[in-house]
């Protein structure tokens, strides 16, 4: 177990370095942060002066090396735009994003798994069809469109919920539901498929034939065995969720990490971009590690070596 963990963490560190290198290359290859910082009347000479003062004139590898060295010591540098430590820019926005991501995850599990079970149980019947429609919309409609429709219906026409901002529970509803629809769609489909496979197994028939009623069979015998693929998908889907967070935050003016990162990318504020990439990648890696570890709880036959 310990060896497994050590190996996984070492892999994750390598992945982080790879991800930051890719981000660094892209941010650097497309546009000059100094030119973007200065007002519209600045001369090329003034841009060069600023580049020098920010250390952007050093060779690419030297800049990246310095970043890795400092990051290893917990220092992600200073935001070029905000004059604050880059890690602080990202982390002050993290609670808002966590609120959205956790909220959407909970709602999508609470919504997606039961819907999947119901659809599998009533295969080919009306419930199954209705679920398919729900899944189809969630998976095919872009999040920003879902978000705009939600604002249009619930904020403008019905005046039920505030269209933007963060602070009250009411403000959380629209962004979480929008994001959750998207995430739960795949979860529903996976649960349904996985349940259908399990429901055909011999032990389900055995359980039924020894007189157990339908609901305990589904929840105790079938769901537990169907859960592993669903959980895997959930872990992988977490990346999609983080992507969806960026769009959701923009549509609903939610002051989170996603918007901080997008703003930083627009401005080529690379310390913030890199700090953001590290935080997001760490979250993704951590969630998937937890998912892998939870297999053992669901299926005692699984061993970590």
């Amino acid at each position: 177990m310990q060896g497994y963990l050590t190996r996984r963490i070492a892999h994750s560190l390598l992945a982080l370095i790879g991800v930051t290198l890719v981000a660094f290359v892209f941010v650097n290859a497309s546009g000059d942060p100094a030119a973007l910082l200065l007002p519209g009347d600045a001369t090329p000479a003034q841009a060069a002066e600023l580049r020098r003062s920010l250390g952007l004139d050093r060779p690419f590898l030297a800049q990246y090396g310095l970043f890795v060295w400092q990051a290893a010591h917990g220092n992600f540098g200073t935001s070029l735009r905000q004059q604050l430590p880059a890690a602080q820019v990202i982390l002050t926005n993290a609670p808002a994003t966590a609120e959205l991501a956790v909220g959407a995850s909970v709602v999508s599990v609470v919504l997606g798994v039961p819907l999947g079970i119901v659809a599998a149980s009533y295969r080919g019947r009306l419930y199954d069809w209705l679920t398919s429609v729900f899944v189809l919309i969630g998976q095919s409609a872009p999040i920003f469109w879902l978000g705009l429709m939600a604002i249009w219906i619930f904020s403008l026409e019905l005046r039920l919920l505030p269209p933007f901002g963060r602070g009250t529970l009411a403000q959380l509803v629209l962004p979480v539901m929008t994001l959750a629809w998207y995430v739960s769609a795949l979860l529903t489909r996976m649960t349904r498929a996985s349940m259908l496979e399990v429901l055909d197994q011999d032990y389900i028939r055995t359980a039924r034939s020894k007189g157990l009623s339908w609901i305990p069979v589904i929840l105790k015998h079938a769901l537990r065995n169907a859960a592993i693929p669903v959980l895997t998908v959930f872990g992988l889907q977490f990346g999609e969720l983080l992507g969806g967070v960026v769009v959701t935050e923009t549509v609903f003016a939610w002051p989170g990490m996603g918007r901080a990162i997008v703003d930083a990318i627009d401005a080529r504020d690379y310390p913030v971009v890199l700090a953001g990439v590290v935080v997001v990648a760490t979250m993704f890696v951590a969630v998937n590690l937890l998912v892998d570890l939870s297999y053992g709880l669901l299926d005692p036959r699984i061993r970590y070596q």
Partner: protein, 502 residues
């Protein structure tokens, strides 16, 4: 029982009607302004985006201000005179205090300007002052002398965005902390700031012009156009910056809302890299101006929300030459000129455009490209993200035509000349000895009438040289609730001191 119920109902109704009336009738109801992006820092020398300067003008003051008619009026300076060609002496206002109670003196002016001048770790407002101001000295507590590198007629207008910081406070807390909790002499003090959500400004009771009538102004950040519009419709925002033109009719129909539009100081044009063929030929550049039907672009694409401008200087700006006539739309003439230049069958070139930086920028570029097609010029519209576009532009790598906007403070013709046509400053896509000389004359001449004459000559010369396809000045459109009385400004500032609530 039924009677009691009736009374209760009436009471409830009265309360429902009366309470909001009582709460909202006072002039000190909070007002909220919705913009698409937030300030990056509240240190005004480290953020020069228009949306940020719009906020800063409420927290800080400059030495002078430019009023609605383009006149320079006193702010922290009460009077000024040129001691000689290159020395301006300013008398400062007495009895002004910063929001933390510290007195405002000449030291603060010297400190703020010297911070802008420093070159070792330049602040972002450095380009506004670099190569212009040579030295700033205090003479006593309430007099300041500014020496310029050369005679500089636009100097006073330039000073409008130079905001004054408190030296002692700044030195004590340091730049980083100051950027989060700023202190100025302006009408509003910065309160709670939740990045990318809102910034609350509270009235500064001891403001030298008198206490602001609105006690609290909140700047809200709502990036999505539609969400911003819904915020206005539902009354959560009172002033909405950049109302999309397609929403204008809807807002006008709403009994609680109105539209405020203003001729903006930003000019949209299509520049050309005049060093590369075919744009190095003046006939080609003129042909492009004859080929484009600017009025049609304004009517069909901008739905009338733009002002045709035959000149390179914005029409709201000092030095605009009102006698200039635009190029007529004449495709036949364009073809003749192209033939003279050696391109009887036209040519292909790129037309780079920003994406969403200016109102309908991509559509305008596509419209122009469509019109050029009719005289045989095949313009490939390249939509470039701003970072890519601007990086290339500033390193002189825009190969053909480029759509760009230019404007804002200072509202002086020298600003656009310096940034686009002067070989000694940033004329990196076009310059010529004739225009250089006129630009230098305009900058040196101190009497306004004389300057205007020089700019007329210069603008008409530039028109025949056609380094741009001259297009239009932008219109800034704001959506507003009717309860707020506020006037938009040419320079895009959101100056809330003069605003009131009905």
């Amino acid at each position: 029982m039924r009677h009691a119920f009736k009374i209760l109902c009436t009471l409830v109704c009265v309360l429902i009607l009366a309470v909001p009336g009582a709460v909202f009738s006072a002039t000190d109801t909070p007002v909220s302004v919705a913009q698409g992006i937030d300030a990056q820092t509240l240190d005004p020398q480290m953020d020069t985006l228009g949306s940020s300067t719009a906020i800063f003008s409420n927290i800080y003051d400059a030495l002078v201000m430019v009023d609605d008619t383009g006149r320079v009026v006193p702010a922290l300076a009460t009077a000024w005179r040129f001691v000689n060609d290159t020395t301006l002496e300013l008398t400062l206002r007495r009895g002004v205090t910063f929001q933390n109670g510290a007195p405002f003196t000449a030291r603060d002016v010297v400190f703020s300007l010297q911070r802008m001048m420093a070159t070792d770790h330049p602040v972002l407002t450095h380009p506004w002052i670099a190569d212009i101001v040579k030295n700033v000295v205090a003479i006593g507590d309430y007099t300041v002398r500014i020496t310029t590198e050369a005679p500089d007629a636009p100097l006073l207008r330039r000073m409008a965005p130079w905001l004054i910081l408190p030296e002692d406070t700044f030195q004590k807390v340091g730049a980083q902390e100051f950027g989060q909790h700023p202190v100025g002499t302006g009408p509003y003090q910065a309160g709670q700031w939740v990045k990318n959500d809102h910034l609350t400004l509270n009235a500064f009771p001891d403001y030298w012009r008198g206490r602001p009538r609105i006690s609290q102004v909140t700047f809200r950040v709502i990036p999505e156009d539609f969400a911003r519009y819904v915020a206005l419709k539902t009354g959560t925002a009172d002033i909405l910056v950049n109302l999309p033109p397609e929403r204008v009719a809807e807002v006008q129909q709403d009994p609680n809302l109105r539209v405020a539009a203003i001729h903006a100081s930003r000019t949209i044009f299509i520049g050309m890299n005049t060093w590369t063929p075919p744009f190095n030929k003046v006939q080609v550049r003129q042909a492009l101006n004859y080929a484009v039907d600017v009025d049609e672009i304004i009517q069909t694409i901008l739905k009338g929300h733009g002002y045709r401008n035959p000149s390179s200087v914005n029409q709201t700006t000092f030095g605009y030459c009102p006698t200039l006539k635009p190029y007529p739309h004449d495709p036949q003439k364009a073809r003749e000129l192209l033939a003279q230049a050696g391109y009887p069958h036209g040519f292909s070139a790129t037309l780079a455009t920003t994406i969403g930086r200016y109102l309908d920028d991509v559509q305008v570029a596509q419209g122009v490209a469509g019109q050029l097609e009719s005289v045989g010029i095949h313009a490939q519209v390249a939509q470039e993200e701003w970072a890519v576009y601007w990086g290339a532009w500033l390193s002189r790598k825009q190969p053909g035509m480029y759509l760009l906007g230019f404007g804002g403070a200072p509202l002086d013709a020298d600003y656009v000349m310096a940034s686009h046509f002067d070989s000694t400053r940033r004329g990196i896509y076009y310059n010529s000895p004739t225009s250089d000389k006129l630009i230098a004359d305009g900058r040196r001449t101190t009497d306004d009438a004389g300057r205007k004459q020089i700019y007329c000559q210069l603008e008409s010369y530039l028109q025949t040289q056609a380094p741009w396809i001259f297009l239009f000045d932008q219109q800034d459109i704001y959506g507003m609730t009717k309860r707020v009385v506020w006037q938009p400004r040419v320079d895009e500032l959101i100056w809330m001191y003069d605003a009131t609530v009905q």
